[in-house]
């Protein structure tokens, strides 16, 4: 597969009076055109910050290092003005809560056309035509009327479709969707996911889908990367990660999901609280919550080990082999 985005050793940290606070701790991954790249992890794992780092929208005071090459251009080394122009134009973004992410006081038309006009220099008329095209594409009924509306007049699912249309307006190569279905009803979720899948294939679009829900990823993603406490703990093709997950954390995430084929199996939540950026234990950050943890886990941060050429994980204990203590 051809890589569109190639991230290497991405690190994000904050300077605190008591030393640097690492949020994303040297992660690497590749995203291919026409594929959905799934990024999974609990809150505090650094997945959203990773997305914001790619867009250059990190909160003030955050430091970033590493490379993120998109079509060969390093996003992290670009001058700010050029960086800004990649936003919206080369990388589209869809945020979690479509209610708060859309401006409540501006019409859909303005919000959908302003970057088309600014980034691509469209006339007002052309931008409007393009907006109608986009709304049709994301299956909004009566696009003409929708353009005159305001966000509060739409349902949650419709608003998320509008946000996706906004993200796609300038025909970006990469679409980053951060928990795009979390704020929505389950029935609406499926529609949004199908839409993303279709757009990805039709437009040869690369999609980074960020979510805590492996269920969502299993349905949609081509590859899955699982993050914990700012590090990648496992990555691989979706089927492998779901069916043959090797890392205890991935297994924990899967066990906490309802299983369609074994509805009566009890859900097993992962014990303990996820490690936030300011409470990461030494060694493997997951060890306090891990039932397979051995002594080395408490001291040594595990490296990624190749399971096969496309699948790797960072755990010295193989839960498929190890028995429960």
């Amino acid at each position: 597969m051809t890589g569109l985005l190639s991230v290497r050793n991405l690190r994000v940290w904050l300077d605190r009076s008591d030393g640097p606070l690492t949020i994303v701790d040297g992660i690497s991954f590749d995203v291919a055109a026409g594929h959905v790249f799934g990024l999974a992890g609990e809150s505090g794992s650094g997945k959203t910050i990773t997305a914001l780092a790619l867009l250059g929208l990190l909160p003030e005071g955050a430091n970033v290092e590493g490379t993120a090459k998109l079509d060969g251009h390093d996003l992290l080394a670009m001058p700010p003005a050029q960086r800004r122009r990649t936003r919206g134009r080369v990388i589209g973004m869809v945020f979690q809560d479509p209610m708060s992410s859309l401006h409540p006081m501006l019409t859909i038309e303005l919000q959908l056309t302003e970057h088309i006009r600014y980034q691509l220099g469209f006339s007002k008329k052309d931008a409007r035509r393009r907006a109608i095209e986009l709304l049709t594409e994301v299956r909004i009924p009566d696009p003409e009327a929708a353009l005159r509306g305001y966000p509060h007049q739409f349902s949650g699912g419709m608003r998320q479709r509008i946000q996706i249309a906004m993200g796609l307006a300038c025909e970006p190569k990469l679409l980053v969707a951060d928990e795009p279905t979390t704020a929505l009803d389950v029935t609406v979720q499926a529609g949004i996911l199908r839409l993303l899948r279709r757009l990805c294939l039709e437009k040869n679009l690369a999609v980074i889908l960020i979510t805590h829900d492996l269920g969502v990823l299993s349905a949609l993603a081509d590859t899955i990367t699982v993050m914990y406490a700012g590090r990648v703990v496992e990555f691989g093709p979706t089927e492998e990660v779901i069916a043959q997950s090797r890392h205890p954390y991935t297994r924990g995430l899967l066990d906490s999901l309802p299983h369609p084929e074994a509805a009566d199996r009890p859900l097993v939540p992962i014990a303990g609280e996820p490690a936030g950026p300011d409470s990461r234990p030494a060694g493997c950050a997951f060890h306090p919550r891990c039932r397979y943890a051995i002594d080395t886990c408490r001291v040594e941060a595990p490296l990624l080990i190749e399971v096969n050429p496309s699948h790797a994980m960072a755990c010295p204990v193989d839960p498929l082999v190890a028995s429960r203590p």
């Binding site: 605190r16 505090g44 909160p59 005071g61 945020f95």
Partner: protein, 292 residues
């Protein structure tokens, strides 16, 4: 709140590049200046170099080493008069804000606590005061009572109570409707206890901020009345009336300039304190200053 939102929130606290020293030095300046004026008010008889009231032959002298702020139309030392002026404005402003807040908080608390027609009556009454500029009402009251410093203070109290009343009523109402008061009642705590333990602390903070901001407004209003000849009158050493006298002697600019600067510095000090208190109490909420 999304994960990003939480992190951005963390950012506001966690990664501010600005040195911490910048955050509150202005409050320190405010406290220092206000404190200095309090000391001046206490010790004016000791530190003032000249008699503030006795005329001398040295008329209209420009600022010099002997008279740093110059002398006025009857030869009095302007510096001494400005220092003595602190004895008028500051204690009166404290008295006035204390009175207005006692009345306002009581009425507002009653309105918020009792609700019903008491609430309607008090708050509709307060609305009347908001509809007419404070100074106009105060002028009418002084007009009826006759000019004089004491009457001016009364007038400012009469027009100042609705501000705190409205704020306290709102705070009491929201606190009364909050879950923890409901819980306190549920476990059988007497209402008076709920009031002192739950309501009072929630009201005290914002009211302190407002009172600090209103100290400045009270001094401004009182000096304005004196300037108009309705409060303190010559030869009293009061800043507003000194500015008024200075207005008739433009060639001796120091006569009006320095008392005015005194007002600015005191009021600004109180406003700096109030503004920083507001930021400290809750950086997200906006408290409406009461001045009109």
């Amino acid at each position: 709140m999304s994960a990003a939102g939480r992190l951005v929130g963390l950012g506001v606290r966690g990664f501010r590049r600005t040195p911490v020293a910048w955050q509150n030095p202005l409050a320190v300046v405010g406290i220092a200046v206000a404190g200095a004026w309090l000391l001046v008010a206490l010790f004016a008889p000791v530190i003032a170099p000249h008699d503030p009231l006795a005329p001398t032959a040295a008329l209209y002298q420009a600022p010099s080493w002997a008279h740093p702020f110059g002398t006025d139309d009857v030869g009095r030392d302007v510096l001494s008069r400005v220092l003595w002026g602190a004895r008028v404005s500051i204690p009166l402003a404290l008295l006035l804000v204390g009175l207005a807040y006692t009345i306002g908080c009581t009425l507002g608390g009653l309105a918020g606590y009792l609700g019903g027609w008491v609430d309607e009556l008090i708050m509709r009454g307060a609305d009347l005061f908001f509809a007419v500029p404070q100074i106009l009402l105060a002028m009418a009251v002084v007009g009826a009572l006759g000019p004089g410093l004491f009457h001016a203070v009364l007038a400012v109290v009469v027009v100042s109570w609705p501000g705190p009343a409205r704020v306290v009523r709102g705070l009491v109402r929201t606190t009364m409707q909050s879950d923890f008061v409901a819980v306190a009642r549920l476990v059988g705590a007497p209402t008076s206890r709920a009031l002192t333990v739950e309501v009072l602390p929630n009201v005290a903070g914002p009211v302190t901020v407002l009172a600090a901001l209103d100290m400045g407004n009270a001094i401004l209003l009182l000096s304005a009345l004196s300037f108009l000849g309705l409060g303190a009158r010559p030869p009293d050493a009061e800043w507003g009336s000194m500015v008024s006298t200075g207005a008739q002697h433009f060639e001796s600019w120091w006569m009006g300039m320095f008392p005015g600067l005194a007002i600015v510095s005191v009021v600004l000090a109180f406003n700096l304190i109030g503004d920083s208190l507001r930021d400290t109490f809750d950086p997200t909420t906006t408290v409406t200053p009461l001045g009109k």
